[in-house]
Assembly symmetry: C2
């Protein structure tokens, strides 16, 4: 008889930052397996569930739709993806998506940095005199995020 720590729904809500309602909702749509209940019907959670929820939370931060998270939970639960070639393919493809997303995000960071820099040397500083030259041709925005025109963006 081991004393694995058990948590209430409120506790894991607090610990994962996902609301109780949302956790119940995830169970309702079977994104999460039905949690074990106590005699009084209350859900009981363990460390295992905690890390599943944390994975979910992480995926959520990346903007992934709930339906697309299922494969991750399958591997999370089963831990042996090689048994499901299909799954492996999904993971690979998701990996590609995510790498693409990182690239998009990096472009946005670059865009912001560019804009902030612009403001910086306009705001003060040395002899960079561009007031006339590129004060506002009203579209220096591009120049960085063009490359992505190709592949379909879906999702």
């Amino acid at each position: 008889m081991k004393a694995e720590p058990a948590y209430t729904i409120k506790q894991i809500a607090d610990r994962t930052g996902i609301s109780e309602d949302t956790i119940r909702y995830y169970e309702k749509i079977a994104l999460l397996p039905r949690a074990v209940r106590r005699d009084n019907g209350h859900r009981v959670y363990r460390e295992e569930d905690l890390s599943t929820l944390r994975l979910l939370s992480c995926l959520k931060k990346t903007g992934m739709p709930l339906e697309e998270m299922r494969p991750f939970l399958t591997v999370s639960a089963d831990a042996d993806p090689a048994d499901y070639p299909e799954l492996v393919e999904q993971l690979r493809s998701h990996r590609e998506n995510i790498v693409g997303q990182i690239a998009s995000l990096q472009q946005v960071v670059d865009f912001i940095d560019m804009k902030l820099d612009e403001g910086r040397y306009r705001g003060h500083c040395s002899g960079e005199e561009r007031e006339d030259a590129q004060k506002k041709p009203v579209s220096p925005t591009e120049m960085s995020y063009f490359p992505v025109t190709g592949s379909r963006s879906g999702l």
Copy 2:
């Protein structure tokens, strides 16, 4: 005077991957300024609009809500963020968000790589390190998707 090329809504839809309906919707909610119309009422777009839309598309890929895109379009249109200190603050804060998002995404990539590796040396041969994955920055935040490997849950 140069003849700046003009585009129809369909053309920029094709070029940006954003549907005509969506572009009109963005105009309706004033995310985009009201486009110039021809005599027949049709919208006319220019390079400038094209790059604005591309920026939008890029932000969209990062999962940013439309409302949060407004500041970006302001700087995109005006091109001189230093005039609006508030805006600069928003940009900075967004930059932080995005950097955080990149970290989350990187964690997911790491998770996938880990799972794929697992499958690899179980199903085929032994590989401690692969060349495919680059070095792992591995965010510290929460790296605890491992304990789940119990393979015990009833799913």
